[in-house]
């Protein structure tokens, strides 16, 4: 078997034994079902699609939750194995270092994808059965797919942290810092700059491009303003008129947020001494 598949398989096997897979799937399913029923409760009165409202609720949750899960899965991948002593043994085998990173990535993203698809999918299925509405399924599917992509981007960022960190403690601290930066600080800083500028120098186009510098914002644009059946309920109809990027472009940007950190992690790991 290919070493990448072997390492991916081992990561999945370990996560099943550690109850990571079960815990993640249950966590996402519970959050998704709670938000689906609480958030979609008034839809009967306003004739809105319950599934479309669920997309809005779940997207807002995913922006916080999936980057955190991705970073937690990944920050330990290199520095943790190095500290436990298992990495030196693995690298003494006929495995290239890029294969180790890609194998771990395949394993971690598989775990994340399984938890997201099953967790969110269960909620979507229950909502569509209860509310007899299935018009927003494409938006829901896009939300699930882009959530996996968002998680994958942060798994890749987590590997960069893991390769750079001197020990597990530093890696964990760095991961939390990166999470805060992307899900809170970045937007606050952008908002601060916009308020300070008062529309004198910064144009809407520049804001659009600036948002792409954060995978969480690219995800937000994609799911809250990207499709017509959702933007109405997300309060982003006004924003949608200002967004220059289509669904494909935003998906491409999110894919770049996976590829660039992953390549960086591979390049850094190739030079790291164990």
């Amino acid at each position: 078997m290919n070493p990448i598949l072997l390492i991916a398989n081992k990561e999945i096997q370990e996560s099943i034994r550690n109850r990571w897979v079960v815990a993640l799937t249950c966590l996402l399913a519970i959050f998704a079902l709670t938000l689906a029923f609480l958030g979609a409760a008034p839809t009967g009165l306003v004739k809105a699609s319950a599934l479309a409202v669920t997309v809005v609720s779940l997207s807002s949750l995913s922006i916080f939750l999936l980057p955190l899960i991705g970073l937690l899965l990944a920050y330990d991948a290199v520095v943790g194995e190095a500290e436990r002593g298992t990495l030196a043994l693995l690298l003494a085998y006929p495995v290239a270092r890029w294969q180790v990173i890609l194998g771990k990535f395949a394993g971690h993203v598989s775990i994340l994808a399984f938890a997201t698809v099953v967790g969110y999918g269960t909620a979507g299925l229950v909502v569509s059965i209860v509310s007899h509405s299935d018009a927003a399924w494409p938006s829901f599917a896009l939300m699930i797919g882009s959530s996996v992509l968002l998680g994958a981007a942060f798994v890749a960022i987590g590997y960069v942290i893991s390769v750079l960190a001197g020990d597990r403690g530093a890696g964990g601290g760095l991961a939390i810092g990166v999470w805060l930066l992307f899900v809170l600080i970045f937007d606050m800083m952008l908002l601060g700059v916009l308020v300070a500028d008062q529309g004198r120098m910064i144009t809407a186009g520049m804001v659009n491009w600036a948002l792409l510098l954060n995978p969480a914002d690219a995800y937000r644009l994609l799911n809250l303003a990207g499709t017509s059946d959702v933007r109405m309920f997300s309060g982003m109809s006004g924003l949608a008129q200002q967004v220059h990027f289509g669904v494909t472009s935003l998906l491409f940007v999110m894919a770049l947020w996976v590829v660039v950190p992953l390549s960086t992690a591979v390049a850094l790991f190739a030079r790291r001494e164990i």
Binding site: E14, A88, L90, A92, Y93, V95
Partner: protein
Amino acid sequence: MSLATIELAGVAKRFGAQVAVQGIDLSLQEGGCVGLVGHNGAGKSTLIKLMLGLLRPSAGTVRVLGEDPTGGASVRARREIGYLPDNVAFHPSMTGAETIGFYARLKREAPARGRALLQQVGLDEAARRRVGTYSKGMRQRLGFAQALLGHPRALLLDEPTTGLDPEFRLRFFGILADMRRAGTSVLLSSHALAELEGAVDRIVVIDHGRKLADGDIATLRAEAGLVPRLRASLANGQLPGWQQVAPGVFETSCPEPDILAFLKALPDKAGSVEILRPALDEVYAAILQGPQQNRGLGPSCAARFRVTAPAGPGESPGLRCRELHL
């Protein structure tokens, strides 16, 4: 003529201002077994990591099975390298069989080969148990089993006997002997010189990252300047020139080449004579202290004394020595 499987020339490794190893030349031939001896932190594990390409040398060259271990081509060469790290660790939630199966597949071996190796190291009954429940010795056996995967041409074993019980330790050295007969080179690091006697054909002593000694055990004994002692036990009488260490017990030093001639010259009724060779730990301590002459009981007695004849009538019984004024 046997080929070198591992070659280090002028190797140095520095971590910032700290020098881990310096000026190391070392070669290991097919079927050879070298013991790398040094105290904790002497640089043994650093040298092994340099051989595996886990560290890059700051100076000098490293070649393992003809390849630079940090280069891309070394990935294939690693199929023929077995490695047991110091304090080997495995994922605790995996069973022994799953663990060896994973490593077997990485070396393109069937998992059945892994199970056979578990049997060879006496872990077949514990194969279905999680590694987290294993004792230190069992983890070490599992580590040794994975190092044997892929019929390695070079075995790099870092402190392999730590935690092993005496029975398995014997079996361990037996397996190593079989591997060597099949042409595998073995590098064995240890901080206990004594356990390597009989198992290795060369010993390299490392201290503070520098090579202090390199040779077989007899050479190291000679380099250490330690001279064997002869202990004679007599019912009564004296041995002029010998040191009395207890009532009726006398000792003198005797260089290794002279022992046989010296013993032949001893009279039959002289009582018992023992040869006390310096223990390997004494040799190691002496090498670490640096070169000194005649660490035995003063100047060599065998050079100054020669036993000439059994005790004659009227003389006190025991050994009779005549001092030779050289």
